[in-house]
């Protein structure tokens, strides 16, 4: 059992040699900060997207021609509605409009609850339009004509993850903007009441229309998980490389520092400290350093992501052409934090104890004489 005086002496020595420990403290905090921040952002985005997928229809059908998205007509709706197990099929107008003045793509979505001359826009769209003084009205320039529409409402800021680039229009207006005919649809929403039949129905749709893509709710969920999957694959390799490089650097730096402190260790040995005590002394000091660095790194990452909304790092996930003032929902995966602790703090202590033990077992008489 370590005595109180022994711990106090270890802390006193830590204060005396604070400059030697500052490097490892700062670098380790930074690594934990970056790692935690990336995982906080990806978890938060995944959480919000998962919430939005809950209302998704059982199957979404999209058509392709020559490898590109292609419209569908009423014949598709009729054929699919005849499949056993399908309760309803709804045709949807959805597409992208190029806003050439700002070199941006707006996501046009048909919404039958809106009047023909009004629209609801996302926050990012609003900012982009406002830069060109479109405050209350907006002009869509199509191949045939200019369509002027009232900006009716803005989507709430909380929904920015899905609505930032969105413009909701009446389906017929959306068709006019996207250059589609009146009986054309971009997507079909297929309702299948029995969840056991969803797989079968989607296979039948692809059988009838081989160029069509049928996406089930389960597929959409796994696509979201895959989109922001930063816990495996290439990212895990990058994390491991960063951590191993840091630990090698740490071991070299600590070996150098302890080499210079050989005389100090020799004096402690001559005062009656045994090897176990020297290792315990260094263990206490480095536990304080690594634990503080870990706790500080995680706390700063939380503040950076959930309080300041991750400036700069957010752009890696969402892009910066269309400004997205998203608010990240605080989602903290404790298992993940424990994993970072396990693969951060424990190797940190191991890499520091090794040089301490090497110095402690070396011949002390030479060190005292020098």
């Amino acid at each position: 059992m370590l005595s109180k005086n022994f711990v106090e002496y270890a802390i006193l020595l830590l204060f005396k040699d604070r400059n030697d420990h500052l490097f490892s403290f700062l670098i380790f905090s930074f690594i934990v900060f970056i790692l935690s921040a990336v995982l906080f952002i990806s978890d938060s985005l995944q959480y919000d997207l998962t919430q939005s997928i809950k209302s998704q229809p059982e199957i979404v059908v999209e058509n392709t021609r020559a490898g590109r998205a292609y419209q569908m007509h009423d014949g598709f709706i009729y054929d699919i509605s005849q499949i056993t197990g399908v309760s309803s099929v709804e045709g949807i107008v959805d597409g992208y409009h190029y806003f050439a003045q700002k070199r941006l793509w707006f996501h046009i979505i048909g919404d039958a609850t809106l009047a023909k001359d009004e629209m609801i826009i996302g926050q990012g769209v609003q900012k982009a339009m406002a830069e060109l003084y479109y405050e209350d009205e907006f002009n869509f320039f199509t191949e045939e004509r200019m369509i002027r529409l009232k900006i009716n409402k803005r989507a709430p800021k909380g929904t920015n993850i899905i609505s930032n680039d969105a413009i909701f229009l009446h389906p017929n207006t959306a068709r006019a903007v996207l250059g589609m005919e009146m009986d054309e649809y971009s997507k079909l929403y297929v309702s299948v009441p029995n969840p056991n039949e969803v797989g079968n129905v989607s296979l039948k749709i692809v059988e009838i229309y081989p160029s069509a893509k049928a996406t089930t709710q389960e597929d959409a969920m796994s696509a979201v998980r895959h989109l922001y999957y930063y816990k495996g694959g290439i990212f895990m390799i990058l994390y491991v490389i960063a951590l191993v490089s840091f630990f090698i650097l740490l071991k070299n730096q600590i070996s150098l520092v302890y080499g210079e402190k050989k005389k100090e260790i020799a004096i402690l040995r001559s005062l009656g400290f045994c090897i176990k005590d020297i290792i315990a002394l260094k263990f206490i000091q480095n536990t304080v350093v690594s634990l503080s660095a870990y706790l500080l790194g995680v706390a700063v990452a939380y503040l950076y992501v959930f309080v300041f909304n991750a400036p700069y790092l957010r752009n890696i996930f969402l892009g910066n052409t269309l400004e997205n003032s998203i608010t990240f929902t605080p989602v903290v995966d404790l298992n993940l934090l424990f994993l970072i602790f396990l693969f951060g703090v424990i190797p940190f202590l191991a890499f520091v104890i090794l040089p301490a033990w090497k110095i402690a077992i070396s011949d002390m008489s030479e060190a005292v004489k020098s």
């Binding site: 919000d48 919404d111 899905i162 609505s163 959409a220 959930f306």
Partner: protein, 62 residues
């Protein structure tokens, strides 16, 4: 020991503030807003600058 106690107290205070922030965040309200919007926009896609690389290539030739 005094230093350790001070360090533990400051971290405890910092983490308490973070827990308070997490609990005070209107998660429920945000979820309701997202769910309300996803009733209009059933096939949701994340709002990225470019839905696919093809859209980016259209804007920036590379």
């Amino acid at each position: 020991m005094k230093f350790l106690a001070m360090l533990a107290t400051s971290f405890a205070a910092l983490y308490l503030a973070l827990v308070a922030h997490a609990l005070s965040f209107p998660t429920q309200q945000k979820n309701q807003e997202i769910e309300a919007l996803s009733l209009r926009l059933k096939d949701t896609k994340p709002s990225l600058n470019f839905p696919t690389n093809a859209y980016q290539r259209f804007v920036y030739a590379f």
